[in-house]
């Protein structure tokens, strides 16, 4: 079990590393993999020039491409792990950060930050947008918890229902903010569509610094999450404090989702597709599945971002791309789940 799980994680980790290097070579300037590795090695040692490589290449690799690529990889990985956790807790293969309204909350917070700056209450956008997105996500989670708290054990149905209700109110709120923004609505719309354009090292630090430690907390409870799939009552008699662990894991997964939304806008379906595909291949054991989701989500979102950045004639917002690809997939799972139930 452990050997297989380590092997899978190591393999996927290597694939992710290779994807990072490969996508760094691609773009308007063609740079070889060897040059990329030389530049990364040199910059990690603190050198600012590399003999035989043009300084503009170093700038492009280190200051333009890598921050964007690493942000995309961590966001993709984080969204996939968050999705796997939501699915594991809600015992629903269709759950992801959207189901609980967490993403809508983050989007509402970010829209609010943008409208405030449009109407003149200005804060530096790189502080206010992530901060508001985070507050929005956490406030939504608190609202969803308190709506379903009459139900002592936080049952999946009442959580999902509360999430849907709150998300519906929030999207009306986002619509109102768009209406207020009037002619400058494009700023909000573009942000809501999701994009990694122009991400910097400070974004990498923000998203990595919050996502990676939170993910360790999630991995710590992986075995409990397995047991919780037997249902709360049985899990409790197997020594798992399911309502406490449920709260911790929902909090962690929401934090990761909020951070992801705050640096990259709304990117749907990664949290749904990646855990679903990997579960079909690797089985449902969260001790293997969760680390694999991190690497798999990173690979998928990075490939999608590289597609729009380097291959498409003009850059398409990544959120639109993932939804165009993910939407039909969502329909397919939904259909299969319904067929499975009726048979």
């Amino acid at each position: 079990m452990e050997i297989r799980s380590t092997l899978i994680s190591a393999t996927l980790g290597l694939v992710l590393a290779a994807t990072i290097v490969a996508s760094t070579t691609m773009g308007f300037l063609s740079i070889t993999p060897l040059e990329v590795l030389q530049i990364i090695g040199a910059r990690l040692k603190g050198a600012t020039t590399v003999t035989g490589i043009e300084p503009s290449f170093i700038f492009v690799v280190w200051d333009v491409r890598l921050p964007r690529i690493l942000t995309a990889a961590v966001v993709g990985g984080g969204l996939a792990v968050a999705g796997a956790v939501f699915q594991g807790i809600l015992l629903n293969p269709l759950a992801d950060p959207y189901t609980l309204g967490v993403s809508s909350g983050a989007a509402f917070g970010a829209s609010l930050a943008l409208i405030l700056s449009i109407i003149g209450i200005s804060m530096p956008a790189f502080v206010s947008v992530p901060l508001f997105a985070f507050i929005g996500a956490m406030a939504t989670l608190a609202a969803v918890f308190s709506l379903s708290s009459r139900d002592e054990s936080l049952s999946s149905n009442s959580l999902i229902l509360a999430g849907v209700i709150v998300a519906a109110i929030l999207s009306a709120g986002i619509g109102f903010i768009k209406y207020l923004a009037d002619e400058q609505v494009s700023v909000i719309i573009f942000w809501l569509m999701g994009s990694f354009v122009g991400r910097s090292w400070s974004d990498v630090l923000l998203v990595g610094g919050l996502t990676l430690p939170t993910m360790l907390v999630i991995f710590y409870f992986a075995r409990d999450l397995n047991i919780m799939s037997l249902g709360e009552r049985t899990a409790d008699t197997l020594g798992v404090d399911s309502s406490r662990i449920k709260k911790i894991l929902l909090l962690c997964a929401s934090l990761i989702s909020a951070v992801a939304v705050s640096v990259s806008g709304v990117i749907g379906f990664v949290g749904l597709i990646v855990p679903h595909l990997l579960r079909a291949i690797l089985g449902p054991d969260n001790r293997t599945l969760l680390p694999a989701c991190f690497f798999g989500g990173g690979i998928l979102l990075l490939l999608a971002d590289t597609l729009t950045r380097a291959w498409l004639p003009s850059e398409l917002p990544i959120g639109i791309l993932t939804s165009l690809l993910g939407g039909p997939f969502f329909c397919y799972i939904f259909r299969r789940k319904q067929l499975g139930r009726s048979s």
């Binding site: 293969p93 397995n226 197997l238």
Partner: protein
């Protein structure tokens, strides 16, 4: 085996329990000893499920105290409690397609430290439980593909692998056909006589309960009506009082087993 021969293995002292305004169990006193099979009997809504929940510690009493080996259940952590008590529920739902062996292995969860791997003992107990429930051939099948009877055997095997001194069955066999029901009861009976397992089973079918159990715990409207050996408790008057039906209780002279017959042409006035 952690079984103890101590009397009063599980003990309820003046236990009451309710949801918001409505009291579901009132003032229950009860002693449960190891090495016996207890049948939890009563009509729908008599408080059986609430009593099961109190016994396995998933609910706390409003008044009174539930004791395990002399200490209140609240003094045990969930993990400690899970080493003493296991539950076989009636409903078994799984959102994900774990393999049968994975599910049975989950029974070892309270015994395996967070960062340790399963020991040889753990594997041994899992294999033994699967052999007893005759599900070895299903070990690598996804549990979502099994029939109802197979699934329930997996759940009982999981509880057996948990290797607790007490096992609580909440209508665990009511969706099964008679062959699978008897198979499960035969295995549990064997554990009771061999290793002093204590079984507390909520059962609807009185005939089945009479042949499986040593003692009855009989509830009606949240009150403990009667408690003791089956042959003392079970009679026509009690069935009339508790279930409000007419029945003949027939004692088989050869096996001294008891049988309940429900005549259809007589009704209660």
């Amino acid at each position: 085996m952690t079984a103890t021969t101590a009397e009063n293995y599980l003990q309820l002292d003046g236990v009451s329990f309710g949801y918001s305004e409505k009291e579901v169990l009132s003032d229950i006193d009860l002693n449960v000893r190891s090495g016996r099979v207890y049948g939890l009997i009563g009509p729908n809504g008599s408080g059986k499920t609430s009593l099961v929940n109190l016994l396995c510690g998933t609910r706390r009493p409003d008044r009174g105290v539930v004791r395990l080996l002399g200490s209140p259940l609240s003094a045990y952590s969930k993990k400690q409690l899970a080493r003493h008590l296991s539950l076989v529920p009636q409903e078994f739902t799984l959102g994900f397609d774990y393999r049968v062996r994975d599910i049975v292995f989950m029974g070892r969860h309270p015994h395996i430290g967070r960062f340790s791997s399963p020991s040889l003992d753990d594997h041994e107990l899992v294999n033994r439980a699967m052999a007893e429930m005759d599900i070895e051939s299903l070990a690598d099948r996804p549990v979502t593909e099994l029939s109802g009877g197979e699934k329930q055997r997996v759940v009982v095997a999981r509880a057996l692998a948990q290797d607790t001194a007490t096992m609580i069955l909440d209508e665990a066999t009511s969706n099964l056909d008679i062959r699978h029901t008897l198979e499960i009861m035969r295995v549990l009976k064997k554990r009771v006589s061999q290793s002093g397992l204590c079984v507390i089973a909520a059962i609807h079918d009185l005939n089945l309960a009479a042949s499986f159990c040593d003692e009855f715990i009989i509830l009606k409207n949240g009150q403990l009506v009667s408690c003791g050996p089956v042959e003392h408790c079970l009679n026509r008057e009690l069935i009339r009082e508790v279930f409000e039906v007419e029945a003949d209780v027939i004692v088989d002279s050869e096996s001294s087993g008891m049988r309940i017959h429900y005549p259809f042409n007589r009704t209660i006035n």
